[in-house]
């Protein structure tokens, strides 16, 4: 028996009193310091050999042995267990000791212990010990039999257990059932029977199987088999993911058992084991692995995967591929990887060029037969940039040479040569050209598309839209009929068809062909459905019919028209509907309204106002604007109707609709009335301000700007980001140099605001002389001279000069004239300009016949503050010069 190595450096305790020693030993044991506890108990036993201290020492030995086992020191642990057995021979062996003996292959020792201690061991411990012996016996440890009596159940029932195992392995369910039936309930092989019954049910009911396996306790000799099965089930559950770490780190036998159970074959397991040896599985390791196993994986597959591994580091990574021994990249492969790489960077032009380069490279082998795989490949490459970017699906052709739209469309069209059967490409191109009103290009694509897909509803709809865009109403009606023949409940096509007939009818009315117009109206009536949109179309049809009546028989027509107007409420809404149709048919508006009894359009009541706004919104939503006569007709009645007590939301909505309809005066009226009810509401302040600007008020006052700034602030505080953004943009647009930002206490600055302080253009990096020159350029010399008070004859003279000497020279003259006549200007063309930068007096203009230009009077606010200059010319200039 080996002696356990004594702990070095431990205090000599035997000289201490037993009570003190006992306390010390118990303290160590309780704190998990088993090594120190053993030393203390041994000293204690030297002082006095008490049974309870010996038992405590045995317990400390057991704990220390387990500690060493946990540290992976089985031999050291065994020494400790053996010391325990020697020191306390009367104590039964612990299961962990037996487990260690079995692990170390000392099966006979365990069998001997089992035999010697059978009567004194705890029943549960004995059962566990015997299950260990049974598992080892079944696993081929024949030595177990050497120490057990011939009638021991382990030996007697061993053959049945072995038969059951064999039957399971070969998938013989009947033999398995027979063998399991021969194993009694209290057999040491009972846990094996439990496990085999579960495994037999795989792959069904994995949860039930797991529950059955859980009944095999950790102390059982079959627990390692249970754990291997559980790992196998875990692998089965996560078969589409990586190998679970518990499984990956298991011992080889357990791992192989579990992976096999999870469906892994030998080759897969071997490759996985090889990969496990690679310290860092990066792209380069994978490239080498792919090359090494290319025969098993397939040469082409391995090469293609290798290309994908090069993408993130391309072009630097191009060299990696040869490091594992593979051949270098071909030109075709290089271009493909480059195109993949450029897709990650996102620049549309780069992508387009990369895919075009790859296409050109593939094309060097000749143009393949359309429809072949090679041709399809070419077509797909040409479509890739658009497929990835999706620009043409939404974009409107702009003619911008920097935009990739035209190049993408060209590539798509070219792709149809290689793959003429891709209907989506046709439709995308047709829609793209339609959005750009390029009807010729759209027709070029449509023709082959309809030849190949004559019954495709999507393409027929595109054809219908194209026909409508080209005012080919007959053709549009034909396409709509074809769509409805394919899909009778297609309300979109039905409405398009009705609209096409109505549009055609208007065209016929304009062309003075009432009979044909009536025919179109009749056709429209036949196709009308009962949807809400159809109701509006029906109204339009009725008005058009009434207009035709009026044309053919004025008396009867008046009656019909008045009847229709009455049906529409007889107010502003009806007048608006009638006006729209008059405009579209080229009928005289005033006369028609008079005939309809609407010579003076009435101020709408609240209901009529609601109906009108709804009608207007529908019109605007369809992308149609209002002709000037219609706007003139409705604006005044609308302004008068602004006083109706609409809810706040309806007021805001009305303002927005009037903005879209470009009715600024009506919008201003609505916004101002609403602001009296809800003062300071940001969106209403915005509408009021914008409408005033649009109505003709050129320069806002400080008060206006303050209101706008406060509204911006309130919108921000209320979280109304949309309104805040709109107001902010408006403030920025009003600022002459885009410098001021909206915000609390920071109103925008206006050069031309007569109440503002002067802007020092020199400080903001703008040459005032240049600014003035630009201003005159923008305003025009003639207008400026007019504002300076020059007569038409004098201005004519300047015009002649401009033709002779050029515009720049005339502007110089005008600026000289201003220097001479405007004292403020002479002191500095714009405040803040350093004196040394003041322009020198230039040549004076030739004396003009007639009246001399009058000198400007200084601005009452600016000039007034400075006081009159004794050198000032008489103040008789026109007020317009206050601007300067």
């Amino acid at each position: 028996m080996k002696k356990a190595r004594k702990a070095a450096g431990l205090p000599k305790a035997q000289t201490q009193a037993p009570d003190r020693l006992r306390t010390l030993a118990e303290g160590h044991a309780a704190a998990g310091r088993h090594r120190e506890a053993i030393a203390a108990y041994k000293d204690l036993l030297k002082a006095e050999d008490r049974p309870e201290w010996r038992t405590a020492l045995a317990a400390a030995y057991g704990e220390r042995a387990r500690e060493l086992m946990a540290k992976g020191m089985p031999k050291e642990a065994l020494t400790i267990w053996e010391n325990r057995a020697q020191m306390a021979p009367g104590l039964p062996p612990e299961p962990d000791y037996c487990a260690l003996l079995l692990k170390l292959g000392r099966v006979e020792s365990v069998a001997d212990l089992c035999r010697r201690w059978a009567d004194r061991l705890d029943a549960a411990d004995l059962t566990a010990l015997r299950s260990h012996l049974a598992a080892h016996y079944l696993g081929g440890e024949a030595k177990v039999a050497n120490t057990l009596p011939a009638d021991d159940p382990i030996l007697l029932q061993g053959p049945a257990a072995s038969q059951a195992l064999d039957a399971y392995c070969r998938g013989d369910a009947a033999a398995l059932a027979e063998a399991l039936a021969a194993i009694p309930f209290r057999s040491p092989y009972r846990d094996l029977a439990q496990i085999l019954k579960g495994l037999q049910r795989l792959p069904e009911a994995p949860d039930e199987i797991a529950a059955g396996l859980a009944r095999v306790g950790d102390e059982s000799g079959f627990a390692p088999l249970r754990r291997a099965c559980e790992l196998g089930l875990e692998g089965l559950r996560g078969r589409s993911g990586p190998v679970p770490e518990r499984l990956a780190s298991a011992g080889e036998a357990t791992r192989r058992f579990a992976l096999t159970l999870a469906g892994w074959g030998e080759e897969r397991q071997a490759l996985w084991a090889e990969v496990r040896q690679i310290p860092e599985l990066d792209s380069q390791s994978l490239l080498r692995l792919l090359h090494r196993h290319r025969n098993r994986l397939g040469e082409d597959w391995a090469r293609h995967q290798a290309l994908r591994l090069l993408v993130p580091g391309f072009p630097k990574s191009a060299g990696w591929i040869t490091q594992g021994g593979a051949r270098r990249l071909s030109e075709e492969e290089r271009l493909l990887v480059a195109a993949w790489r450029l897709e990650e960077r996102g620049d549309p032009w780069d992508q387009l060029q990369a895919w075009n380069a790859y296409y050109s490279q593939l094309l060097t082998g000749g143009t393949p037969e359309p429809g072949s795989d090679e041709a399809l490949r070419l077509a797909l490459i040409l479509r890739r940039a658009e497929g990835y970017l999706g620009i043409l699906a939404e974009a409107t052709p702009s003619g911008d040479p920097m935009g990739p739209g035209a190049a993408l469309a060209e590539a798509l069209e070219l792709s149809l040569r290689h793959d003429p059967d891709d209907r989506d490409t046709y439709e995308r191109l047709i829609r793209y050209h339609l959005r750009g009103k390029d009807l010729k290009s759209a027709r070029r694509i449509l023709e082959p598309a309809l030849q190949r897909f004559p019954r495709d509803a999507g393409l027929l709809t595109a054809a219908l839209d194209l026909a409508l865009a080209g005012d080919s109403f007959k053709k549009a009606a034909r396409y709509a009929r074809e769509i409805l023949a394919l899909d009778p409940i297609n309300t979109g096509a039905r409405e398009r068809l009705v609209k096409a007939h109505l549009a055609h009818a208007r065209k016929q009315i304009r062309g003075k062909r009432p009979d044909l117009a009536r025919k179109e109206l009749a056709e429209a009536g036949e196709w009308e459905s009962k949807s809400s949109q159809a109701g509006r179309l029906s109204e339009q049809r009725a008005i058009l019919g009434a207009l035709l009546d009026l044309e053919e028989d004025p008396e009867a027509g008046r009656t019909t028209l008045q009847h229709q107007v009455s049906a529409l409420g007889g107010g502003l809404s009806a007048a608006f509907a009638l006006a729209l149709e008059c405009e579209s048919c080229g009928r005289p508006l005033a006369a028609t309204l008079k005939a309809a009894g609407l010579a003076k359009v009435p101020v709408p009541n609240q209901a009529d106002l609601g109906a009108f706004l709804g009608r207007l919104r529908t019109r605007l939503d369809e992308g149609d604007g209002l002709a000037r006569p219609v706007r003139t007709l409705i604006e005044n009645p609308l302004r008068s109707a602004a006083g109706w007590p609409l809810p706040q939301g309806a007021c805001e909505s009305a303002c927005e609709t009037l903005r879209r309809a470009r009715l600024p005066r009506a919008r201003q009226a609505f916004a101002e009335v609403a602001l009296r009810r809800w003062p300071g509401t940001p969106v209403l302040v915005l509408h009021a301000f914008e409408a005033r600007q649009e109505s003709g008020m050129r320069y806002p006052s400080d008060a206006d700007l303050d209101r706008l700034d406060a509204a911006w602030q309130r919108a921000q505080e209320a979280g109304d980001q949309r309104t805040a953004h709109r107001i902010g943009e408006l403030i920025r647009s009003l600022s002459p140099f885009g410098l001021p930002q909206p915000g609390p206490g920071r109103g925008p600055t206006f050069v031309f605001d007569d109440e503002d302080e002067d802007v020092d253009l020199g400080q903001i990096g703008i040459d005032p002389e240049e600014a003035l020159r630009m201003f005159i350029e923008l305003m025009g010399v003639d207008r400026l001279l007019d504002m300076m008070g020059l007569s038409a004859k004098e201005r004519k003279h300047f015009k002649a000069l401009e033709r002779q000497a050029g515009r720049a020279a005339v502007i110089d003259m005008v600026m000289d004239l201003m220097r001479e006549n405007l004292p403020d200007f002479a002191n500095g063309p714009l405040p803040g300009l350093p004196n040394e930068l003041l322009p020198r007096p230039g040549p004076k203009p030739k004396p003009t016949p007639g009246r001399k230009p009058k000198a400007a009077q200084p601005s009452p606010k600016r000039g007034g503050a400075k006081g009159p200059d004794p050198d000032d010319p008489p103040a008789e200039g026109p007020n317009q010069l206050d601007l300067f």
Binding site: K103, A135, L138, G139, G140, E141, L165, D166, C169, R170, G171, L199, L202, P203, G221, P224, L225, L236, R239, S240, P242, A250, E252, A253, T254, R256, F257, T260, L261, G263, W264, G265, E267, R268, L271, W272, V275, L286, L289, L290, H293, R296, L297, G298, D300, H304, Q305, R308, L309, V311, P312, L336, W340, E343, D373, L376, R377, L380, R384, D422
Partner: protein, 97 residues
């Protein structure tokens, strides 16, 4: 695993019918209610391969790098649960780890 051929257990030259058959068989063997993630992966693979154009596009434009699972699946896909041999049982019973 990202290789749709491996997911559906298909050869690289599989046609529309083969793709459809493989998909339906895979879904029947692993219905969505049993393993929603696997079903999602099957569905994705089917969409990537279901037409000739889609298969060609997948080969041309899919640039996702291969994972270890892809390589393992290519070498030998995971099959149905297998029964470990008697030798493996014996090794585990003896505590050979």
């Amino acid at each position: 695993m990202s290789d749709p051929y491996a997911i559906l257990g298909l050869a690289p030259d599989a046609d529309d019918d083969a793709v459809r058959r493989a998909y339906l068989a895979a879904v029947a063997a692993c219905p969505p209610e049993r393993d929603p993630r696997r079903f999602e992966s099957l569905r994705g693979a089917y969409e990537a391969l279901r037409t000739r154009r889609a298969r060609l596009a997948q080969a041309l434009f899919d640039q996702s790098p291969p994972t270890l699972a892809d390589i393992l699946d290519r070498a030998e896909p995971v099959g149905p649960p297998r029964r470990p041999g008697r030798n493996l049982f014996d090794a585990v019973l003896r505590g050979a780890d």
